[in-house]
């Protein structure tokens, strides 16, 4: 423990000189990077618009009031579509993520040198492309509509579910697998009786968690034409009917809060 002598008294210090200097250097570099990045963004910003923004925001808020409540009756079908996109997309994702997770987990993959990297690449590319980008591509290919939304959510979620699932598979208790192997079980039987029961709670938890995230994401897919409540949001913003926009925002808020509550309850019940 480093001590400093000040006026003949020993004073405790948290760190010795070298680590203190190292921390200062890191902090200095971080501040420098931050200032540099801020400078670059600020060059591309028209500050007049920014200083004007509070007035604009007040103006927008005043035009959103009061919400046009009778618009609500036309929103039930888009809300239903949004939930259907999230649910069916999640379903599609977990069906496809299940085998990929087994191929990617270090302890169950058939080949560490060939198949595991492929499975990991599928996981990474599915994860790094946002569902909105997937939707953009799918709308170009199969046309606008709910189906493109379902596929977009599905493709995006495969990587997420498979990643969490293969981490769960790698953390299983090997002694149970060994016990099943000792009874003379073959490969599929080991999988079915030794591994699957151990990861089933994690699997259910991951699915519900992803469903909750997908509800949130499917509300915006309509911006690129892939169905759901985003279509109405986009249309209302383009026609500057702000009283409808506020209703849509409230509906999205309600849907997201309800789905979060459901997902928290279900996960609480599982774990």
């Amino acid at each position: 423990m480093p001590l400093d002598v000040k006026d003949g008294l020993k004073v405790w210090q948290r760190r010795d000189r070298n680590s203190q200097l190292a921390i200062w250097a890191v902090q200095f570099a971080a501040v420098a990077i931050f200032v540099y990045c801020w400078q670059l963004i600020s060059d591309k910003t028209i500050w007049m618009f920014v200083t004007d923004a509070p007035r604009q925001a007040a103006d927008m808020a005043s035009r959103m009031m009061p919400p046009k409540w009778d618009y609500l009756s036309t929103l039930w079908i888009p809300v239903w579509d949004t939930i259907a996109i999230a649910t069916l997309g999640t379903l599609m994702a977990i069906v496809m993520a299940f085998p990929i997770a087994f191929l990617a987990a270090r302890n169950t993959t058939p080949s560490k040198t060939f198949i595991r990297p492929i499975a990991l690449f599928i996981i990474v590319s599915s994860r790094s492309i946002n569902s909105l980008l997937w939707a953009l591509m799918l709308v170009t290919v199969i046309g606008p509509g709910v189906f493109a939304g379902v596929l977009a959510i599905g493709f995006r979620s495969i990587g997420f579910c498979a990643k969490l699932l293969y981490e769960a598979i790698e953390e299983i208790d090997e002694t149970q697998v060994e016990a099943i192997t000792a009874t003379g079980a073959n490969g599929p039987q080991i999988l079915n009786y030794g591994i699957v029961p151990q990861i089933l709670p994690a699997f259910a938890g991951i699915s519900v968690f992803r469903w909750d995230i997908n509800i949130r994401e499917s509300t915006v897919l309509g911006l690129v034409g892939a169905g759901g409540i985003g279509l109405q949001l986009n249309a209302s913003i383009n026609t500057v009917t702000w009283t409808q926009v506020s209703v849509i925002l409230l509906v999205i808020l309600g849907t997201v809060i309800v789905s979060e509550w459901v997902s928290a309850k279900v996960r609480h019940a599982i774990i």
């Binding site: 670059l40 591309k44 923004a53 069916l88 990474v124 492309i129 199969i142 046309g143 994401e217 925002l249």
Partner: protein, 270 residues
């Protein structure tokens, strides 16, 4: 699967079901089946359009290869850099703001009114997806990276503040009490009792949020929030799919690099 012991015991072993209560089990199964049937029924799939899309998908994928990194290299480079700045700034600013909000939202730290207020801030900034925030930021602040930066920062506050508050609520009260017993002031107490307990996890989560922000910065451009998303959208609109493929590959590459380095830093910190 009959077994020699079956005849001795008179019954067969069956795997215990995942959901113990049979009523709940069958209820959930029937409910799920009905919901799926209705959901599929109401989903209007234009199958002829989808069938049209299949050869189109083939051409689409074919035009992705080989990815063209060169002909739009300058635009792509600018877009990627803009995304990276936006990610850095919004992560830093978001985390800086989320620290006081997170402290206020921890039940064992803050008085009740502050707690409720901070929780409300977190709930509102968490519910809306970044794209919707970006949409409104673009309306208010004009096109460009500033709008994207604001949207990502607000998203970061909701995410990071909530996790920070939960982590503080889970901390070991014994250490906190020991530091308090030395007669420390509130800030000293925060610095020596609370911060060391939550720091390792929070650094990891900060790296994770950086990763998320980069991925999101690729889409805020679609609604005009600057970054690589704008370049990507333009390349789609011009049917220059080989450039789009190049952009997507670069995004995947950067996400992989960030993910691996964040995993490395997290191991180093813990």
């Amino acid at each position: 699967m009959s077994h020699p012991t079956d005849s001795l015991t008179g019954r067969r072993w069956k795997r215990p079901p995942f959901i113990a209560s049979p009523l709940l089990r069958w209820g959930l199964a029937v409910g799920a089946a009905i919901y799926l049937a209705v959901a599929f029924g109401t989903m209007e799939v234009n199958w002829s359009r989808v069938a049209d899309g299949l050869p189109r998908a083939q051409r689409f994928l074919a035009s992705f290869f080989p990815p063209d990194f060169t002909s739009r290299a300058e635009d792509i480079f600018d877009g990627i850099l803009e995304s990276l700045w936006m990610t850095v700034i919004s992560t830093v600013v978001g985390i800086a703001i989320s620290i006081p909000v997170g402290l206020g939202a921890a039940r064992n730290l803050a008085p009740r009114p502050v707690y409720l207020f901070s929780r409300a801030v977190l709930a509102v900034s968490r519910t809306f997806p970044e794209i919707i925030l970006a949409l409104f930021a673009v309306k208010l602040f004009g096109f460009g990276p500033f709008a994207g930066f604001l949207a990502l920062s607000i998203g970061t506050i909701g995410f990071y503040g909530k996790l920070l508050a939960e982590d503080i609520e889970d901390m070991d009260p014994v250490q906190a009490e020991a530091v308090k017993a030395t007669g420390s002031s509130w800030f000293q107490w925060l610095n020596y009792a609370v911060q060391p307990q939550v720091m390792p996890r929070m650094i990891g989560l900060g790296m994770y949020r950086f990763d998320i922000n980069f991925r999101e910065s690729a889409v805020v451009g679609i609604v005009g929030g600057g970054g690589i998303g704008a370049t990507l959208l333009t390349s789609f609109d011009r049917y220059e799919f080989d450039s789009s493929a190049a952009i997507l590959l670069i995004i995947i590459g950067i996400v992989m690099v960030v993910e691996y380095s964040s995993g490395y830093i997290r191991r180093w910190v813990q």
